[in-house]
C-alpha cells in the first residue's frame, strides 16, 4: 500500500480531496500500533500518515492545556509535559510509537481511567479532514465551551472513519507528588467482589483498581498460590498516601483480604508498565469485555473456566476485562465471543471486542465489535454525511 506523508494540514486536506475525486480508499496511519484493531482492510488504497504532523501549536502551561498536531508520539508528548510537572493520564501502550491521533481515534484508555477519566474527558478541541477533504474543527482551546456540536466526542473512538484527525487541544493534569501500589492476593470471586464494592466507595479515592490473573503477574502477588492479585494505585501528597495505604490495608482486611502490602517503588513502576502494555501484548487471541463494574467478576470467572491457562488484566472498577489466550479455545472465536461471553456481557450492559486473533480475515462485525450501541441506521447516516463515498478506513468499523 502506498503511504503518503503530508507535511501540513492543508496538504492533508488536499490529498484527501484528491482521493475523494478519484474515489481512492484511505487508511489513516499514526504510529501503526493498532492496525490489528478493527476489521482488516479488504481494499487497496492510500495510507495517509500523520508522521510529519507533529508540531506543538500552543502550550500555555499555566492554563493546563495543550494544542498539538496529532502525529506527535505519546512519549514525546509525555516528556514535554513532564518537564512542566504535567501529564495526560491515558496509559497508552507502545508510547514511543503510538500517536495522539491514534489514541483519540481508537479511544485508547488504561488503568488510571478509574481516577482520571477517559480520552473523551480530555479532548476539548479537535481538527480533522472529512472524507470529502473538508478541513473542519470543533470545540476550542478553553476548558469550558458549549458552542456548536461536540466533534471531540464524535471523533473520539470513530476509528478514522469520519475524518483524519489532524490537531487536538487537550486538558492536562498536574503530576501528583507521589503514587504507590497496595497489592493483595485473593482466592475467590466472592472476596474479589467484596473488595471491589468497598473500593468503589473508598474515601482513599484510588486512581486505578486492577484485578490480575495468571502466572505473568505472580511476582507482584503476596502469595503466588492464590488465584488473583488485586493492585490498587493511590496518588496524591505524602500525607494522603501515608493515610490511604493504612486505610486501604484495614478496609481490605475487613473485606476478607488480609495481608495487603505496598509494592517497592521499582515493582510499582514495573507493574503498571506491564499492565499498560498488556492489551498490546502478543497472544494467540486477545479479547476485551467491557461491562459495568459488577460484571467483571462473572466475566473473569467464565474466562478462567474456559481456559485456566489464560492471562487476565482487568480495570475492574470500570468493568473492562482484557483476556489473553495462549491457545485458541476449542469453541473458536465465535463460540467464545458470541455464544459464551456475549450473552454474559449483555446481562451486564456490555459487549465483547477482539483485540488480536490469528485469522483476522475471519472476523465478522459481531466477533470484532460485539453488539452495536445505538441504531445501525443512525451510524450509517452519520458516516454518509462525513464520508459520502465510504473512503475512510472502509470495512473496518461498524457501518454496514
Amino acid at each position: 500500500m502506498q503511504s503518503l506523508q503530508p507535511g501540513t494540514v492543508e496538504e492533508l486536506a488536499g490529498l484527501v480531496e484528491q482521493a475523494y475525486e478519484q474515489s481512492v480508499p484511505m487508511y489513516p496511519l499514526g504510529g501503526q500500533t493498532a492496525l490489528h484493531y478493527g476489521l482488516p482492510a479488504k481494499t487497496d488504497g492510500w495510507g495517509i500518515s500523520t508522521e510529519k504532523l507533529n508540531r506543538v501549536i500552543d502550550f500555555p502551561v499555566k492554563d493546563l492545556t495543550l494544542t498539538v498536531e496529532t502525529g506527535i508520539t505519546i512519549q514525546a508528548l509525555a516528556d514535554m509535559l513532564a518537564n512542566e510537572g504535567l501529564m495526560l493520564p491515558l496509559d497508552v501502550p507502545q508510547q514511543s510509537q503510538a500517536t495522539l491521533g491514534g489514541v483519540i481515534a481508537t479511544n485508547c484508555n488504561g488503568p488510571r481511567r478509574f481516577g482520571y477519566g477517559t480520552v473523551r474527558d480530555y479532548v476539548i478541541g479537535i481538527q480533522a479532514v472529512n472524507g470529502k477533504g473538508q478541513l473542519f474543527h470543533g470545540g476550542g482551546r478553553v476548558v469550558k465551551n458549549v458552542a456548536g456540536y461536540d466533534f471531540c466526542k464524535l471523533l473520539t473512538g470513530s476509528m478514522g472513519t469520519l475524518g483524519i484527525i489532524s490537531q487536538a487541544t487537550v486538558k492536562l493534569k498536574p503530576v501528583p507528588e507521589e503514587a504507590v501500589t497496595v497489592a493483595v492476593s485473593l482466592d475467590d470471586g466472592a472476596t474479589v467482589e467484596n473488595c471491589i464494592a468497598m473500593l468503589m466507595e473508598s474515601p482513599t479515592v484510588p486512581v486505578a483498581v486492577e484485578l490480575l490473573y495468571g502466572a505473568r503477574w505472580s511476582e507482584y502477588a503476596g502469595d503466588p498460590n492464590r488465584r488473583y492479585t488485586l493492585a490498587v494505585q493511590l496518588a496524591g501528597t505524602e500525607s494522603e498516601i501515608t493515610w490511604g495505604q493504612q486505610r486501604l490495608a484495614d478496609d481490605l482486611k475487613a473485606c476478607g483480604a488480609p495481608g495487603a502490602f505496598a509494592l517497592s517503588s521499582e515493582a510499582h513502576v514495573a507493574l503498571w508498565q506491564q499492565i499498560q502494555e498488556f492489551p498490546a501484548a502478543e497472544h494467540e487471541l486477545t479479547i476485551q469485555v467491557k461491562t459495568v463494574s459488577s460484571g467483571a467478576v462473572p466475566v473473569i470467572e467464565k474466562c478462567t473456566e474456559t481456559d485456566p491457562q489464560c492471562t487476565i488484566q482487568s480495570d475492574i472498577g470500570n468493568g473492562v476485562v482484557t483476556v489473553g489466550f495462549e491457545e485458541m479455545p476449542e469453541t473458536g472465536i465465535s463460540g467464545l465471543v458470541v455464544s459464551q461471553l456475549g450473552p454474559l456481557a449483555t446481562v451486564y450492559h456490555g459487549h465483547v471486542e477482539t483485540l488480536r486473533c490469528p485469522a483476522p480475515e475471519d472476523l465478522t462485525l459481531g466477533t470484532m465489535w460485539g453488539q452495536l450501541s445505538g441504531p445501525q441506521w443512525l451510524h450509517n447516516r452519520v458516516k454518509e454525511q462525513f464520508d459520502p463515498r465510504g473512503l475512510l478506513n472502509p470495512g473496518r468499523f461498524v457501518y454496514q
Binding site: V61, K62, V146, S158, E240, S373, G374, L378
Partner: protein
Amino acid sequence: MHGSADLESTLPVALIHELQQIIGVDGVLTAHSDRMVYECDGFTIEKSCPDVVVFPTTTDQIAAVIQACNRFETPFLPRGAGTSLAGGTLPIGGGVMLVLTRMTNIEEINLRDRYAVVQPGVVNIRLTQALAGTGYHYAPDPSSQGACTIGGNVATNSGGPHTLKYGVTVNHVLGVEAVSSEGEVFRLGGPNADPAGLDLAGVMVGSEGTLAVVTRVWVRLTRNPEGVRTMLGVFDSVDDATNAISAIIGAGIIPAALEMVDHDIMVALEEAFQFGFPLDAEAILIIEVDGIEAGLDAQRDQIIDICEEAGAREVQQAENEQHRQQLWKARKQAFGAIGRLASSLVTQDGVVPRTQIPQMYQKIMEIGEKYDIRIVNVFHAGDGNIHPVMLFDERDPSQIERVLAAGGEILQACLDAGGSVTGEHGIGVEKIQFMKQMFSENDLDVMASLRSAFNPNNRLSPDKMLPTAGACGVERHAPSKMVAQ
C-alpha cells in the same frame, strides 16, 4: 385549559385532535392565553408563541406526537423547565412544543455501578436529594439546579460552580434514550461507559435539542468527597483577586470550585442574604477544595498563601457546614439579588483561557465605560467562564442599543483571547450570529451535515444554533430583565 373560546392556534384542527387523543385533553394547551407562558425561556429578548403545547408522560406519547407532526409537516421542539438563557427553547415558527416536566421519575439508582436512570423532567437537585445518605451525588450543579431539568442540562451541556473539578454534564452522561426527528425511539449508550460504535450519546449532549428528543438519561454518580474546605478570599482590588485566580490555577491546583464576585454584586447579595460579606472590599473569591481529609489542610494553606501573596486583605474559612451552605446559596442566587440593582439586566457567558481573567476583567470594564453601561461581574473564574452582567433601563432605547453593542464587544474580546462565546448557556438564538466568527464555513457546513444525519427535515427545533438555515425572523431590539446563572 380546555378553553376553545380563544383557540387561536393556526395548526390544522385534525393535528390538534390527534394530539389530544395521544396525550389526553388535560395535557394539551391550545388557548393563546395558556400558550403565551411558553413564548420564551430565560432569554426574554425574543419571543415566539408555540401553536400548541403538549405535556407527554411517556416515551411512546412523544414518539406518537413527533410522528403526527411529521405527517402534518409541522415543526416541534422539546422544553424542560425553560431556564435556558440563550433561547434554546424558543419555538421559531411556532409549531408543537413538547414540555417534558411531567416526566419526573428517577427510575433506577445503582450505587454499585455508579449510575442512575432518570426521566428528562427530573429537576437537577432532586437527584442529589434522592441520593442523600448514600455517599453519592450528581455532580453538575448549575445555579438554576433547583428548577432546571436534567433533560435540559443534557441539551445545553450545563455547567455550574463545581464543574471546575468534576466536569460538565457531558462528563456525567453515560447514555440517552431518545425519539428521532422522524418519531423512532432509539437508545445510545447506557450504564456502561464503553458502548460499541460511535459516541453518539456524547454528541447528543449540548446539541440544544436539535438532534433528537431525549426521553431518558443514564447519568454517572459521583462519590462524595471525604472532606471539604471552603474559603472566602477578601480583596481590596479586583486586579488582586483576578491575579490570585490566575496564580492558583497556574500553581497546578484544581479546586472543586473557584468563583469571583465583585463589589456591586456583593452589596446586592448582602442586602438579600445578610451573609456578612465585607462591603468595603472590591472583590471576593469563593474557593473550595475537597478530597481526602488528610490532605485538605495543606491545600487550604497553600491557597491562603497564594491569595495573601496576591494581596488579599484576608482569607476566611467557612466555620461549619451551615455556614458553607449559606455561602453557596448566596452565590447561586446571585442573579436573583442583582435584580435589586437595576430594572433590567443582561448577562454574557464568554470564556477566556483561565490565566487571562485579569486582562479580560479590565477589558470588560473599559467596554462598560465606553458604552456608558454599568457592568457587574460574577465569574466561574477557575475555568475562565465570565458572567459580566449589564444593568440598564429597558424603557430607554439608546441604552438597549448600547447594551447590545457592549455585549457583542465583550464576546468578541473573548474570541480574540482564544476563548468561546459560551461556556455553559449555549448558542440558542441569542448567539447565533457569533457562530460565524467562531467557526469557519467548513465547520458550520460539517455541523449542518451532522444535524441532517439526525434531523434530515429540520423539523425538530429549526433555526437554532447554526446560522446557515434561513434567517430566524426575529428582530433583536428589546433586551429585558433576565434571570441568569
